[in-house]
Symmetry: C2
Subunit: 244 residues, 2 copies
């Protein structure tokens, strides 16, 4: 028996999220079905975390155990050959049996893309949220600074979150314009349900002049989801990197 770790990307458009659900097409479901066809084994994979329906990944990490004798350097090709084009395995390596894709995460990075062109770029419509009026990126960046550090992020997670401890550490949160696109990049030790999308939705309201950058301090202190902005659409979000 050996444990393999894979880094993979996926286009979340056509999936009902990462995690297996009955009668739904999910990333986990597709990978486990491919592993079944390849090895004959019933393999359960473990991801670094779930992603919601429509959310993409560039560097999701999974691990799984197998008794298969497929040589390590063949795994990537064999898997990609059995997977739909919307899931791509970028690397496969053998790891100690003590490694766990979820429990061992040290840092996660998410990026959110806003297409801020006056007229949407049609080739980005699946991967970016279009906002046609120019955003004040400077104000968004100012607001973002208030969220960096260790905080109770109750205001920035879905009211449906049942996790007790809502304290998380955001290592960095930047807002940058690249041509017609605005990218929000967030690194942290973990994220609550919908946390990045609610942060982005709130920063967008700052960028639209609807809120002052310093309001973020008050929102954070209130520990009340109602105080923050709307949840930004899933399609703009990409799980970018997971560090162990």
């Amino acid at each position: 028996m050996k444990r393999l770790r894979c880094v993979l990307g996926y286009d979340g458009t056509d999936f009902s999220g990462f995690q297996v659900q009955p009668d739904q097409v999910t990333v986990q479901g597709e990978i486990e079905a491919a592993l079944k066809r390849i090895t004959g084994e019933e393999i359960q994979i473990h991801g670094s975390g779930r992603t919601d329906a429509g959310v993409h990944a560039r560097g999701q990490v999974i691990h799984f155990d197998t008794n298969s004798h497929i040589p390590l350097d063949k795994w990537r090709f064999v898997l990609n050959n059995q997977l739909p084009d919307s899931i791509v395995i970028r690397s496969v390596e053998e790891v100690p049996e003590t490694f766990h894709a979820r429990f061992d995460v040290r840092v996660k990075e998410y990026r959110y893309c806003i297409d801020n062109n006056p007229v949407a770029d049609v080739f980005r419509h699946r991967y970016a949220d279009h906002i046609r009026f120019p955003l004040d990126v400077e104000a968004m960046q100012q607001a973002a600074r208030h969220l960096v550090g260790e905080h109770d992020f109750t205001s920035f997670c879905s009211a449906k979150t049942f996790v007790e401890d809502k304290v998380r550490t955001v290592y960095s949160l930047t807002v940058e314009r690249f041509g017609g696109e605005v990218w929000v990049t967030c690194r942290g030790n973990g994220f609550l349900y919908n946390m990045v999308r609610i942060i982005v939705g709130t920063l967008v309201e700052v960028g639209q002049g609807k809120r002052h950058p310093d309001e973020l301090k008050k929102i954070l202190a209130a520990r009340d989801r109602e105080m923050a902005g709307k949840t930004a659409p899933a399609k703009g979000l990409t799980m970018w990197e997971v560090v162990y």
Copy 2:
């Protein structure tokens, strides 16, 4: 009554091509339905040409006639508001009633994108054909030169083509590598059915070392579809620009 000309882009992934077909979702069908909702009129649009199922457009051009009193500078917004995200109107202008989007075309440019990375870029899987072994772009460019000029392109169009005159002029045909992507750009006065995709499919076989660049001369002279390469997949092709 006035005649309007629009430049539009679309993501061809989810359409059964440009032209209206019964019980199919098409670009023309979506635009005509939007025009009906906006103006109440039964408007027929005319495109510069059809595109097949899965083919994209960055600069398709259409025209249509309307009695609507919507101000010219509002049209783009009103249309985009009624269209799905996969179709974006880039500009709307009034043109003389003598203008015709199909008959007045002088030059058309198509671009074909090949994702030539060893592992596919998952965010390009809808817009590029993935070929994992490195293509010999220099050989492809050499082969491409034989197709530039006025030729009978019978070998490079679908056997299902019923057009009598298969002589067309290719003004330029270039093959360039940009990072991990290889782009084939073709400008001409008109293209036969599947012509760009068969040209690309044949150039790819040259880039894979399966054919010598000079074979293109023989293929052209044979006037036989069987002599050319496979038809490249639709998803890599984009109608880039139409010049009047």
